[in-house]
Symmetry: D2
Subunit: 361 residues, 4 copies
């Protein structure tokens, strides 16, 4: 299953060290201006080697559009794109061939498929998220037409927690530091934590917060297809994600209903809204026009520059230590993946809402 | 979107006070013995009026199978089932007609659909989870053939937290008390918390923990369709759920990779396994044969037996106080919904795995 | 696979002699008036026992709506419906249990599923088309709002061919005779052919022509999802159908392009149209606003009131002669199935077109 | 909608004169040897310029695999492929920009999408069937493992009809002449008809017959998803197709049931089979192990090398005559498209059958 979405469908392909990574976006409406600089810019946000915090593997990650765009506009036909890999199985991967790296997908892929592309992580590599980021960039171009804005930022690294909520932050400021935390002071503390971890050859996890502003009322389907269920599914599709919560989340379970309920009010503009927003902008699975916000938990990435025990495909004990350059903390580069997936969800739900809901000729 | 699953597909229907609630299960394999007592028993676990902790609305909730079962076995044809409602729009709902109840779906349904069945919550009522529980019961009959066991239990009510992990509990003991917490002592504390809340006309949230034992290796699809993404989607489809985490979850984000990684070992039976299980039984989106475990956050249900402010459909301020009998805490009755949805996910992923993965004639 | 459609999805269930036959319609827009008399009327058109031409098995086939309709209007929630069977496995079917009836689905069901509901044809019975007719009736209510009209009529019975094309006929006249051929004279000849066949204990096939008027321009998706491919799929889903053609069809293959091409012209109303309509109202898979017309081939139904050779499940030779009342020609009762399936296709394509095509906010 | 299939899913992309044409095959099982010579050979069968009968536009149509194949075997990950276009919008298409060519998709695309890639037919070009042929080649590699053989051949060109049925022909002989008719004498007559048409600047249609041998019993789903409905949908997805019939087809409608029924017998090998095969190898939508055969009607392609009337996008009358090299008869090159689509259907139904039908652990 490499397709995401119901109406706006992203089908992805590619392995870390194969020929190319890419995707096909089907169901993208016609007539939308395709801003290639913006799309490449989004990929650059994900690209390794942006700072001392992330892996130094320098890759161009240049995107090429193969179809579906004509004279600068989408045509309604499938948009295929690809990023050619520069490291096409060039190295020596013989040590990985028969090894099950701890907390990687080596064992499960081998059991499920019998064969496994063991070069650079193959299909399970986080490098494959290029497809999600590119797909999300197209979704953002669609959302731009609707005035919807999608943000994500690092709100926790290890034990370093940003305690401000999103309303206290300038979300236009996210990319102003390498951690992608819009609070400069906390960003520095997080950066220190990452560097300290890196020096130890270790890795560290964290939390990314997502915020969607300007989402139209009425997106999402009741029962299955709830907007927050789609968001959860999208986020859990990102490598290393272990948890998702929206609105009041896990912390809200200890509240009483009388504290947690969002009271409806008539707002200044005459529209109905809520006084608080514990609902996180979604009620009964459908967007209510308030901000949507959510949190995504990332485990520490499993690739360590220190010795680890494991077994090989025959079950024999081995010791393994990764070589090369790897992220000590995936969060700074995961931020553009989180906002890309969120954009895909909202754009898809928007298009879906046109054929469902109240009948309009 | 009222269909869940890829191969084993549950399509649900029904409103709280309509004619019937039910569903159609498509893709259910042929030749499986259909144990009607078991299925009715699962519905009884969800049924209101089981104890002083839950709403006293006494309903039979008798299931009738309409198709797809012949001489006690599934035929491979769609299995339709229904539960007739005994309270079919009998009461007076005129006060609800124009009201937006706080933190309910009244406002979003009205905006999305224009019309709304305002009797008893309509389609947004938790009563519609009858369909999920019944669908899950069929899935459990399939999993029974595979030796897979699915458990869920209440692990937190408000601030009352069960600190034992699932290995320290007797999971066969879940139904031995009305809270559905397999630790008798903690169950009592939770029950007290619920009763105290109920007396105050208020409601309280909590956490349900799910555990899946005996899951075959190789279920789940990489990229999209990851087994934990399907579980997250399933859980977020349950009314009042605000968060999902599996394995090390949110707490694990502050660990280092060297602590969090699950070391592969050769187990006593000669098979490959892991020493720890922070992965929660899923690696790269695919089950690895270890126990799958996860946690689901439930907000306090929004229906209070005390006055609340709100607005009506015209935006005019109103005061609203629910009448009748309502659950002060949804968790005891949500336990069978959580395990039902988990069973649907695993059964679907199992059937999906037969047509994917390594080629076998 | 018992679900039809992409956006407007009909999921069907039921066996000939089971508890009930029915379906769930998901994705039906909210706010459409549900005319129950019209829906029951459509089922009555399919019902057996309407004339001497069709089986005399008298059934009420009363439809009951279980959900999704509130105060006479669709709510956007799934619409479940059912028709209870009056002949629930009441008879003696022991002779059918181990028999493979010629040109029926007995053998293939047994091989695929292992178990088989052998009473009255089970799931393979044409009685299950109740679900399609009911689903199509809802689709017609939607199309009524758009001014789209869907017609079907018997245009051939055995060797008796109606040589007029649809423009020469009064399509409002279809139901004026039991054959459902709008040419009274030919209808009589066809009726005679059917009665002659019936007296011989034999059966006969034929052709049904479908016509869709007022279809909006732009329905259908290029590549896969072509409007005529959806129609073909829909028609081939009807029991006993062996062929489908639209526009110039099979006869048109021997024409030259210079004869077959439809020249574009500006029509009297200023709009672009075509001078001829060999395209059958669909170009590149997308409706062009001209009439859509197609033909559907039905084989003679295989149930004969005369001796036939066959084998039983052990491969032993047997002789079989059907008992009871069976249609000698299925076409008169298949007409409402053809127009129902066509209506489902157009309604679904219409809803699909709202989320695809050119971007409109 | 540019995705075909349920389990084995082909997503296609590309325009005639864009950067590349290609696709992504998802759900392809792991461990199957990928014979690149075979795949390129299948594309060569579709390629223009093979003989005097087809367009002389010489293109390499070299396929490149981007993912999903490792060390010569499929990995279970999505297989992306592309064929770069050599004629990337190099010519002058200004005359096509505002023109609605008769019986092409220019008008409907413009109405649906607002924008249109008018170079070389854009997405509606038959050149996009490269994706289907490549996808089908992969499907054939899978079917090869099962011993299933898929054939297609030209059985009619204009009025020239091959009256032999498939059993009288050597199907291994199809590619021995440029018409792809396995009867050498008739192939010559057809070739003459095509050349005569070509000289007149005109085009001609015809019929392609498909045959599938060795199909396992039990493929196809009852109700929706019938094997012949999938075949019909697949064939109707090919450009210029106007009709589909299988087994006894349209001709069989005038037969009586007593002539048309296929009598079950015990075959020499002890298995159950049928004496005749009017059912075309499919009963109740499910394959019965007999040969599957069907016929596909192709209209004459609309591009003529002679003057035609039409209108432009403003509705003004224009005269249009195509330039360049175009096929006078599409059938010889459509043969590999028909067998490719048939292979995709059978491979998909095979994989689908593994997760449905009787329960097997």
């Amino acid at each position: 299953m490499n397709t995401f979405g119901e109406i706006l469908r992203l089908t992805t392909f590619g392995e870390s060290h194969g020929v190319a990574i890419g995707g096909v976006i089907d169901g993208f409406p016609a007539g939308i201006t395709i801003d290639m600089d913006f799309i490449q810019g989004e990929l650059n946000r994900r690209r390794p080697g942006q700072s001392a915090l992330t892996t130094a593997r320098a890759e161009g990650d240049r995107i090429e559009i193969l179809s579906g765009v004509f004279e600068g506009k989408s045509t309604g036909c499938p948009i295929a794109f690809e990023v050619r890999n520069e490291n096409q199985r060039s190295g020596d991967y013989s040590t990985l061939k028969d090894l099950y790296r701890p907390s990687h997908a080596d064992y499960t892929y081998t059991e499920k498929y019998g064969v496994r592309d063991y070069t650079g992580g193959g299909r399970a590599s986080a490098r494959t998220t290029i497809s999600q980021v590119a797909g999300g960039a197209f979704a953002k171009l669609l959302l731009r037409e609707l005035g919807v804005k999608v943000y994500a930022y690092t709100s926790q690294v290890g034990d370093v927690v940003l305690h401000k909520n999103y309303q206290e932050l300038d979300l236009e400021n996210i990319d102003s530091n390498p951690v992608r935390c819009p609070d400069e002071a906390m960003a520095k503390v997080m950066a220190d934590e990452i560097l300290r971890t890196k020096e130890a050859g270790d890795t560290i996890g964290g939390v990314i917060t997502g915020v969607i502003k300007g989402c139209p009322v009425g997106l999402g389907e009741p029962q299955f297809g709830k907007l927050h269920a789609k968001l959860a599914y999208a986020m859990m599709s990102i490598n290393a994600v272990k948890g998702f919560e929206y609105g009041s989340g896990f912390a809200g379970v200890s509240k009483h209903g009388s504290e947690a309920n969002d009271i409806f009010i008539r707002k200044a503009d005459g529209k109905v809204g809520t006084r608080t927003n514990n609902s996180g902008g979604i009620q009964g699975g459908i967007s209510n026009g308030e901000d949507i916000y959510f949190r995504v938990a990332f485990k520490p990435v499993p690739t360590l520059l220190k010795d680890q025990e494991s077994v090989d495909v025959n079950g024999n004990p081995v010791t393994y230590k990764a070589k090369g350059r790897h992220d000590a903390c995936v969060l700074p580069r995961a931020v553009p993946i989180v906002d890309a997936m969120a954009a895909l969800v909202i754009a898809d739900a928007y298009l879906q809402s046109k054929g469902s809901g109240r009948f309009v000729k």
